[in-house]
Structure formats: C-alpha cells, structure tokens
C-alpha cells in the first residue's frame, strides 16, 4: 500500500514520513505570507496537526502538497484577520538609524502600514503576487479560487494602496 493510502488510514509512520517531506515546503509558503519566522513555525505546526486530524477526508489519489498548502493558506488568512493592522515588522530602534535614512525608513513604514490595513484576502494575494512573484494559478489553487478572481484582487489591492499612499503623501 502506498504512503498516502497508509496516511489516510491513520498510520503514524506514514504521517511522520509526510511531515518530514513537506514541513519545509509548508513553512516556506507560510513565512512568505506572514513574513515572521516564529509565527510561520507555529502556523506550520498547526497546519500539520490539522492535516493529521483531517486525514480521513484526504483522497489518497489527490495531491497531498496542494492539499497541505490550501490548509496552510487558510490558517495564514485566519492569522492575518486576527493580527493587529498597526503591527510593524521593522524592529530597528529609531536611534540606531542614521538621520539620512530616517526619511527612507519612514516611507517604508508608511507603505507597510498601508499594506497591513488592506483586507486580509487582498493582503495575502498582494503579498504572494507582487512581493513574492508567485504565479497566479498557484495562488488561485492555494486559495481555492479562480485565476480571474486572483487578478481582480491584485488590482483591487493596488488601487487601494495607491489611494492610501497618495493620501499619506507618498507617490509610488
């Protein structure tokens, strides 16, 4: 019996093999969305746990990697919904930055803030498509939607960001 069948039947050895095979891939996908290593590790562990609990629903003739990525994407989306919009990823204290780079840093922070205020569904698509350059069809598969819907979300995200950055005095 092959690995995926044994996993679907609840064999722990098969699950261990799959975890070791896919944990890196799931983490890489998640950290590109949430952009924080600690959070991405927690979300990856949660994804693997949910995969184990949902093993009876997995069709062994299906694509395990794609299924895992979809679960990871949904969890990352939930995280973005819960995360505070004003959260900043830049941890350098202001004192350690040379004055000539303060303006640049301030602009970067404003862009990050505008980005984090996007609705999570737009934020996730914009991160993957614009920052990470993931192909639209891969994003669509991970979100369980169509390529057209992904393109539409990218354009909506761009329009909102452009408007907010202009309001903040930044010309992108």
């Amino acid at each position: 019996m092959d690995l995926l069948h044994r996993f679907a039947l609840g064999e722990i050895d098969a699950f261990e093999t799959l975890v070791r095979q896919f944990q890196g891939e799931i983490y890489a996908w998640t950290v590109r969305i949430v952009r924080d290593p600690g959070t991405a590790e927690d979300l990856t562990a949660e994804t693997l746990w949910r995969i184990y609990r949902a093993r009876h629903r997995f069709r062994p003739d299906g694509n395990f990697g794609a299924w895992a990525r979809r679960i990871a994407t949904n969890l990352a989306l939930d995280y973005l919904r819960r995360a505070r919009p004003e959260q900043s990823l830049d941890t350098d204290p202001a004192g350690s930055v040379p004055p000539d780079r303060l303006v640049e840093r301030e602009m970067r922070e404003k862009i990050q803030q505008a980005f984090r205020r996007l609705p999570p569904k737009l934020q996730i698509v914009a991160t993957l498509a614009l920052v990470e350059e993931v192909p639209y069809d891969e994003i669509a598969a991970a979100l369980g939607t169509s390529v057209g819907a992904v393109k539409l979300r990218v354009f909506r995200a761009v329009r909102i960001l452009r408007k907010r950055l202009t309001q903040a005095g930044i010309k992108p």
Binding site: Y27, A28, V31, R35, E41, L48, I111, V131, V158
Partner: protein, 78 residues
C-alpha cells in the same frame, strides 16, 4: 479600454516596486524539525476512555437485556 489596462499595469508595476522595497526577502528555511511537537500532540489527542464510562456502558447493556422494550423508549427520544 486599452488605456485603462495600460494604466492598471503601470499602477501594478509601481506598487509592486514600492512593496518590494518595503518588505525585505524572508528566509524560507525551516530552522527545526517539527515532528517531535506534532507527535506530542498526536499522543495527547489519543482518546482514553475512563473506567466509569465502561461501567455506564455495562449497566446500559444489562438494563436493555433485562428490559428490552426500553430500547424503543430511547429510540423515541433520540
């Protein structure tokens, strides 16, 4: 229509460049093996049936053997 599309593509390019400058690349290598943590969760999740539940099952079975018509009463309430 073509003008709109061109504007949209132009906007996308500008915003994409701004975002890339604001979000540095992330390290996508997982730093540790997550299997031990997952295994702990699996072990903790294994269902253990307490002794009093087995007693309850035994008592119910005995009751249905002695009073078989009670099955109908239970079925009605389900």
């Amino acid at each position: 229509m073509k003008m709109d599309e061109h504007m949209d593509e132009h906007n996308v390019r500008q915003i994409r460049d701004a975002l890339r400058q604001s979000f540095p690349p992330v390290n996508t290598d997982l730093g540790r093996d997550l299997w031990p943590e997952i295994l702990r969760r699996v072990d903790a999740h294994k269902v253990s049936v307490p002794w009093y539940d087995w007693v309850l099952v035994g008592l119910s079975a005995a009751m249905f053997l002695v009073f078989p018509r009670l099955v109908l009463v239970f079925a009605y309430h389900l």
